[in-house]
Amino acid sequence: MLYEGAVIIKIEDVTFYYESVKVLDGITIEVQRGEFLGLIGPNGSGKTTLLRCISGVLKPRVGVIYVDGQRIDKLKLIEVAQICASVPTELSSEFNLTVSDFVFLGRYPYVKGIWWESKEDEQIVEEVLKTFRIHHLADRKLSEISSGEKQRALLAKAVAQKPKVMLVDEPSAHLDLKYKLEVMEYLKELSRRKITIIAASHDVNLLSKYCDRIIILNSGKIVSFGRPEEVITEELIRKVYGVEATVMRNGNETFVVPKRPLR
């Protein structure tokens, strides 16, 4: 299922600085179409920065990123938005739009006429609202719904964008156990439909359970890259997180049980 050869994202030797601080250091990755890729690493390791580079919001001075065969620095933002959709951890602030207004914004890269969305846009939005079970909230203000519902609205907007790649930052941040699993199941389902998912999270166990491959970042460098059961080891957790942990395996599944922080 995985290695059908089609590379959707290719990152070549990307180095990124915020002012003079090096945040990404010589990142080189190839991501396959339909792959579910996990990004883990401690705070400040560069996960979010990497996602922002792939979404075209940040422009690295060194290195090249290709999305869907095109150099990202040669694409307009609206063209990138037709390929990559981002799901942020949360809304940047409160605002007064309704849930359906918000999900409709996912159609922005496609609407050709001025002002109104087409019948097709509307169908897509209606379908997505149903998929995420928020259609009954369509007319509610975004500021009035629960954080779990907000998370689903964020995902719904990204899916309405009909992307080939979804960049998800902390998909499970505000969710309870059941919703966490539901969101991950849904992302898995999208990846089966050949939509590539790149998800950054602190939840190592959740990513290990669902991802095809995992990248471990530390201080802007790739420390390890491979299948979860290959890369998640007690030694790695000690090295990257500074935490003593037991890694348990049950068939294909890998669990990290943290013990204590190393001094």
């Binding site: 922002r52 979404s55 075209g56 919001v57 307009k76 933002l77 609206i78 063209e79 990138v80 938005a81 037709q82 990559c84 959709a85 981002s86 942020p88 809304l91 940047s92 602030s93 409160e94 605002f95 007064n96 739009l97 309704t98 359906s100 207004d101 409709f104 914004l105 996912g106 922005y108 890269p109 609407v111 001025i114 002002w115 109104w116 969305e117 019948k119 509307e122 939005v125 209606e126 609202l129 259609h135 369509a138 500021s143 964008q161």
Partner: protein, 347 residues
């Protein structure tokens, strides 16, 4: 969900337009009845219809008054009401701050500076004495805006740089204005009247210079209603949704500053309109700019029309500056909004 969401929106838009235009029409005719020569509503209406039918030729005193004195004023009120309100709504959206008004980029202070400087120095442009004040006001506004723009771009071009640069430029020009006012004494009495905003000196000569640019710039803004919705997501998420945030914001700041300068140049500084009207419209119709902006235009025209009618009738025959009236209605209304809806209310 049932009915199509887009269809529902269009229906709401039509509804708000019909209501807004009807009340505006009534206020418009009402304002034609006001002045030293008393007229009934139907007299004003028939005079207007007759004179328009005859292509501007007047055949009696009522028609003369309506056509040459009161009509240009009413049209300007609509133009300025639309312009200032739209400018306020756009500034609030792109700066994502509900307390922002169209004067945030320093244009009003610059215009006031221009007017006071010209009056203090006794400058009149010989060929066009009548246009001297509007021209210096417009130039002052433009100068202030260019300074703000320069400062903001030099400091990184972030939204906050525009706000801060605008505040600094505004304060600088205001201090000069204060100095001129103190030193100028009697000579600057006329400037005071201009500073508070008034439609008293509007005539056919200036109507089109206010109304046409104000309406056309507002219509340009309307074309960007979807982009203004996207910008509500915040800069980063707007970029990820496909909007070139940086150049869009710059374009909007230029358009709204021009719009504000045009409004201010002829009628002076009318406060509070650009701040309060967008809030009223948002509370009535929500934040989707495709419905919000037309609502803002209609509410702005209606509110300023009411303020102008009050300015002329409250202390008849003395006419108050309309800017004072908008602030007088605006402040308690805004205070009420803050108390009532402050907690739940966001742009």
């Amino acid at each position: 969900m049932g009915e199509s969401i887009v269809r529902q929106k269009i229906l709401r838009l039509v509804m708000v337009t019909v209501i807004g235009l009807s009340t505006l029409f009534i206020l418009f005719i009402l304002s034609l009845t006001l002045g030293p020569v008393e007229m009934s509503f139907s007299e004003a209406l028939t005079s207007l219809i007759n004179v328009l039918k005859n292509g501007g030729r007047v055949s009696n005193i009522n028609e003369l008054i309506v056509y040459h004195i009161r009509l240009p004023r009413a049209i300007c009120v609509i133009g300025v009401g639309i312009g200032l309100s739209i400018a306020g709504a756009v500034m609030q959206a792109i700066i994502r701050n509900p307390l922002v008004d169209p004067y945030i980029t320093g244009v009003s202070s610059g215009a006031a500076f221009g007017v006071c400087l010209a009056m203090f120095a006794g400058i009149t442009i010989v060929k066009i004495p009548f246009y001297t004040i509007p021209l210096v006001a417009f130039l002052g506004a433009l100068l202030a805006f260019l300074l703000t723009m320069f400062l903001a771009e030099a400091s990184g071009g972030m939204t906050l740089s525009y706000v801060l640069a605008g505040v600094i430029v505004g304060i600088a020009f205001s201090s000069f204005t204060t100095i001129f006012l103190v030193l100028g004494g009697e000579k600057l009495h006329g400037a005071l009247f201009w500073l508070f905003g008034s439609f008293a000196y509007v005539s056919w000569k200036v109507v089109w210079i206010i109304f046409v640019p104000s309406l056309s710039l507002s219509i340009i803004v309307l074309l960007y209603a979807r982009e203004l919705n996207v910008i509500l997501l915040g800069d980063e998420q707007a970029m990820q949704s496909g909007l070139d945030v940086h150049s869009f914001k710059r374009l909007m700041i230029i358009i709204t500053s021009l719009l504000t300068s045009v409004c201010v140049a002829f009628t002076g500084i009318i406060g509070f309109l650009g701040l309060v009207v967008p809030h009223i419209a948002r509370i009535l119709m929500g934040s989707d700019h495709r419905i919000l902006l037309p609502t803002v235009m209609l509410v702005g025209a209606n509110v300023l029309m009411i303020a102008d009618i009050l300015a002329r009738t409250v202390l008849k025959p003395v006419e108050l500056p309309v800017g004072a009236i908008t602030s007088l209605i605006g402040v308690p209304f805004f205070a009420y909004l803050l108390i009532k809806r402050g907690k739940e209310y966001v742009v």
